[in-house]
Amino acid sequence: MAWRLRLAPEKTSIDFFRWQGVTFGGSMLLMVLAFVAWGVMGLNFGIDFKGGTTIRTESAQPVDVAAYRAALETLPLGDVAITEVFDPSFGPEQNVAMIRIAAQDATESVTPEQITAVETALRTIDPAMTFPSVESVGPKVSGELVWGSIIAVALTSVAVLAYIWMRFEWQFALGGVLALLHDVFITIGIFALFQIKFDLTIVAGLLTILGYSINDTVVVFDRLRENLQKYKQMPLRDVMNLSVNETLSRTLMTSLTTLIAVGTMMVFGGDVIRGFCFAIFLGVILGTYSSVYVAKNIVLMIGLDRSEKPKNRGTPDEFANIDA
């Protein structure tokens, strides 16, 4: 027998409902807290959603935020935010900052004169300063992007709900979608809590979480469906525990490979993509947790009608033997 790396013992019989109050209840509490964080602190929207301009600066000299601010104060720009950007991949001569300017006009993005004025003002600090990216979004578009994102999340949830309903039972669909929302909202809550910039790529990240999390949940549900057929007399709770135990090794394995991949992207992929990778990283952890501790609890609470033959699958036709 060759040595194998094992994430879970060969045979586990963990009672996943034992601490239901803590695990499931805690999850629900976290979800509520995430809503509170979202409501109270708000999200640190990027220009995609708020409108405005971001300018990325790169200079050989260390970033002096106060000096940058002083240089820009003379310009009629309104609200200006300056943040320094750190990344392990930057060389010693690479000092990067992001300057965010609030939207000025009602519809248009920005005038070239404004950008030139900002660039000229900043070049007084370091004449060799470069501007690797300048992006601006008009408030008109950003409003639409907010709606588009909300619709995207809602549409995905509905589509997934419909699919699981079709393939499983409606209780499963409900449990699966609640687990999804759990993952997405807690992630949003964490973004609100730490005031991490929330832009269009983060929404893409959230949608990816939807995809990943449901993937994980479906694998557990699939085994549950199989075991419900196999052990018709076993109480629902025990069948569920059995199913999760049987798939535990796979759940951990896949989560870990995905976490490894996303983790390396987060560390080495550069600062432009970091927020996006962070969202997915969080989502994978939450998605794994929720497929074990959240999704099936809902199904258990609602209960399943097991007397009904599930969609006639595998049931012999009573007239099948007449001709035989």
Binding site: L7, S133, K140, I151, T257
Partner: protein, 555 residues
């Protein structure tokens, strides 16, 4: 029993080989790109320069030369989202209707009395006040007679204008289907003109797309900044030659009927009062190019078509000694005095130009004027260095991620892990191969999608391997366990991946730009990884089993 038919096996390995071959050009990206650019240039020009020939030879033409397009965020360039002000065209249309409506009402003057145009808040409306309210029915009938039916798929039986009355006011408005037709035409023309302008500027592979009802997305890789792009496409470039009535130092408060007061482009505080109806317009130009005047200053040379040349010739013959204004987008470039009859239909426009400005104006004039002005809703400039940094970082992350996942898989599943890792490599090649042949655009989130796929692609294998393990525990023979493992894991694999596919489908529809790139790589990656897990890995397992015939299998 553990045997796939030969033709199936050949087919499976053929797709793997195809994936590798199609992905190969991406390893020599700059070389293949040079080859493709040169091939395109040679085809357009009909001959090859020495450099182009060298670039052509750098990559054998019998090899596939499709490569993944790099998105704007990786290559650097400018992105603009413009909204076309279609209402501009409505206004022009209603202005053109006014003389006709006036003439029609003149025909029924006895009943309606005097008519007067009134300002309308909606640009697609023409409001006319008539003197006698009792004559409204006659007025409506007279104006309705002007309407002509429009031919379109949806607008059958509808006229181009609707006529209604509101007290003493007669309202002529564009009908819904006429508006739609106008919108369609305006956007189409704007697209064409923008394309011509961007192409003339000579950048590579610009993306110019219609988005939604009245928006145009313009992405130009390799251009220095969005401002530059805006200067090129944001100008309406409506050129007219108007007779000058007088010159003043302030805006004329009462320019008189049919006249307008326009500022000078170069001379501060100088205003010209000109006749609104132009002698000739930019539409009568056939050609314009950067030129120099007799003093060697930059200028724009132009050529009129036959109609324009005749109109211009006649006008200059009759108005020697009088000034005329060259007006661009509501500003007077210059107002020279006509020295003599100009019959040839060509001339130059002098102004306070630099050589670049003169050349740009020439490009704008030859491409034609935009039918409506545009506002810019979104603009992004990404420097090429930032894009390169992102590519480098993405490569590093992908390699490290791949190595880590591989080690992890081998440690967990031994030989089966090796099979899974080989499949993963083939899978990556296949993703790049497909991206290359469909000409998809790789963006930074797209790279993240690929890295995510590295993690998720092994999932299908993990599901199968875990299942085989379980079946082995149930004391099944190895061959049987492997077979059942694949069979029973199938439903989980299909359900799990279909839901992810649904998500990427929504992402593709809802997302914009870079996010779309992510959706594309994710969707392709899901499909290919399921394929490789179910067929390619299985082939390896079967081949190995067939050769070794082990009594026990340890996964």
């Amino acid at each position: 029993m553990l045997q796939t038919p030969l033709w199936k096996r050949i087919l499976i390995w053929a797709t793997v080989a195809l994936g590798l071959v199609l992905a190969a050009p991406n390893l020599f990206y700059s070389r293949v790109e040079g080859h493709n650019d040169a091939a395109q240039a040679v085809e357009a020009a009909g001959f090859a320069t020495v450099e182009q020939q060298a670039a052509l030879d750098a990559w054998p033409s019998w090899l596939p030369s499709g490569i993944v397009n790099l998105g704007l965020d990786l290559r650097g360039g400018a992105h603009l989202l413009a909204e076309v002000q279609v209402a501009d065209v409505y206004k022009a249309r209603m202005d053109a209707w006014w003389p006709e409506v006036r003439d029609a009402l003149r025909g029924v003057r006895a009943e309606v009395g005097a008519v007067r145009r009134q300002p309308a808040t909606d640009p697609a409306e023409l409001r006319v006040e008539i003197e006698t309210e009792a004559g409204m029915a006659a007025a409506v009938a007279a104006v309705r007679a002007l309407a002509s039916p429009i031919v379109s798929l949806t607008g059958i039986g509808e006229n181009d204008i609707t006529v209604s009355a509101e007290g003493k006011t007669l309202i002529v408005a564009l009908s819904e289907s006429e508006r739609a037709a106008v919108d369609q035409r305006t956007i189409q023309q704007s697209l064409e003109i923008i394309r011509t302008r961007v192409d003339t500027a000579g950048t590579r592979e610009p993306t110019i797309q219609r988005q939604g009802a009245d928006r145009i997305l313009i992405q130009v890789p390799g251009i220095g900044s969005a401002s530059e792009l805006k200067a090129l496409i944001g100008t309406t470039a409506k050129l007219t030659f108007n007779p000058v009535v007088r010159r003043g130092t302030a805006e004329d408060p009462a320019p008189g009927a049919g006249n307008v007061s326009l500022p000078s482009m170069d001379e501060e505080g100088v205003w010209y009062t000109v006749e609104e109806l132009p002698v000739v317009t930019g539409e009568d130009l056939t050609n314009a190019k950067g030129d120099f005047d007799q003093n060697g200053r930059p200028a724009v040379g132009f050529q009129f078509d036959a109609r324009g040349a005749r109109a211009f010739g006649d006008y200059t013959a009759q108005n020697i000694g009088a000034p005329f204004a060259i007006v661009l987008d509501g500003e007077v470039i210059s107002a020279p005095v006509i020295q003599s009859h100009i019959p040839g239909g060509s001339g130059i426009i002098t102004g306070n130009f630099t050589v670049e400005e003169a050349n740009r104006l020439a490009v704008l004039l030859s491409a034609g004027a935009l039918p409506a002005s545009m506002t810019f809703l979104e603009e992004r400039t990404i420097g090429p260095e930032l894009g390169q940094d992102s590519i480098d970082a993405g490569k590093v992350a992908a390699v490290i991620g791949m190595v880590a996942v591989s080690l992890f898989m081998i440690a967990s599943y031994g030989l089966f892990g090796v099979f899974a890792v080989l499949s993963l490599a083939f899978n990556m090649a296949r993703i790049f191969g497909i991206l290359s042949i469909i000409g998809a655009t790789l963006t930074l989130p797209g790279i993240a999608g690929i890295v995510l796929i590295i993690g998720m692609a092994v999932d299908a294998n993990v599901l199968v391997f875990e299942r085989i393990r379980e079946e082995l525990k149930n004391a099944k023979s190895p061959a049987r366990a492997i077979e059942i493992g694949y069979e029973r894991a199938l439903s989980a694999i299909v359900d799990a991946n279909l839901t992810t596919l649904i998500t990427s489908r929504v992402l593709f529809t809802m997302g914009a730009g870079p996010v779309r790139g992510f959706a594309v790589t994710l969707a392709i990656g899901i499909v290919t990884s399921v394929f490789t897990a179910l067929y390619v890995t299985r082939q390896m397992v079967e081949t190995w089993y067939g050769l070794r015939r082990p009594k026990t299998v340890y996964v």
